[in-house]
């Protein structure tokens, strides 16, 4: 007898709706790092991102009874995560996140390399945070969450042409703001 196949997300949602907490736990474990990473990048603040990630999964739990597996679960999850993150950003009334100080790097043989890496990361983070919220969101979903522009349109509810336009404009700005880093 072969081992049962791991449940897919839709199965886990159906079981969650029936009150199966272990199924819900499995869903959270599968997707929390994606959701957290998205929230951290949109908000630029890890503490707020933790709160947002919790909000997202509480909403998922409460909506389990209404979930219809017409679209992929991750598309639906991203929709909740993006909206919750953008709402939190709006409430914090922050369009530009202040640049955090680069963490001190301890001495060591590769300390210089790590410092350079940390400074690069800070520059990229700052450049992306400087983008308007919708451009920032599509760039993050495209580059870091690895969604295609059509998947981004489905996840955000924005039209495909809007996503295309946002992505192209965002990359044009990033090309300019990171020009000194990308040119040899």
């Amino acid at each position: 007898m072969t081992d049962p196949l791991p449940s897919d997300d839709a199965d886990l949602m159906v079981r969650t709706a029936a009150g199966d907490k272990s199924a819900f736990g499995e869903l959270v474990n599968r997707h929390q790092s994606k959701v957290l990473a998205l929230a951290i990048r949109i908000l630029g603040n890890e503490t707020e991102a933790q709160d947002v990630a919790q909000d997202v999964f509480v909403k998922v739990y409460r909506a389990a009874g209404r979930y219809k597996p017409k679209a992929k679960f991750t598309t639906w999850l991203y929709r909740i995560a993006v909206n919750t993150s953008l709402d939190a950003a709006r409430k914090a009334n922050r369009s530009v996140v202040p640049l955090e100080a680069v963490a001190p790097v301890s001495d060591g043989p590769d300390a210089t390399a790590r410092l350079v890496e940390a400074q690069l990361a800070a520059r990229v983070r700052s450049a992306i945070q400087q983008l308007p919220p919708r451009q920032r969101t599509v760039v993050i979903l495209h580059r870091y969450q690895e969604l295609s522009y059509r998947q981004i349109a489905a996840a955000t509810g924005w039209s495909v042409s809007a996503v295309e336009s946002l992505l192209v404009r965002a990359h044009a700005k990033l090309r300019d703001s990171l020009a000194d880093l990308r040119d040899p």
Binding site: V58, A121, A172
Partner: protein, 166 residues
Amino acid sequence: MVPKSISDLELLEYIAGRLSPKRTARIDSMLAESEPDRLRLERFRRTWEVMGHWDVPADQRDVLPAVMQRIESRRGRGVRFVLGWGVAARIAAAWVIAIASGVTAGRAVMSGRTSVPTVDEAAPRQVLDADVADSLHLGVLGSGGSAGLAQSIFQVNGQHDEETEL
């Protein structure tokens, strides 16, 4: 014929590796024939690679315990009747219909289109129907219907007893 340039979006999708094999092969051949497109691709690619330096810390706390605590604490507050928008809209609509019906009926009455039964003081009082009086065995009491019964109960020595007047 000037070859069509590759769009920025397609270059981004090409760098991300999200085009179909057929489309990727087509872009490859277009790039081979167009230096401007190759230069654009290179600028996009370097920005793409620089963006890769922004890593989110791997040591992220597990959100599940906090999520379950929030779900459970909400349950512990007892049943909370939460109206969905659909139910709220139906209740609101029912109120509007009820109020509108009342207003309409009131206006109709006030305008005299309908009449409310009124007491005509000049008309003879109607006494209980004889059948009803019989069913109540009022005849046994020697009274001619309810009026007679009431009179016989409340009159003392032919005088109306005000203390018992209803």
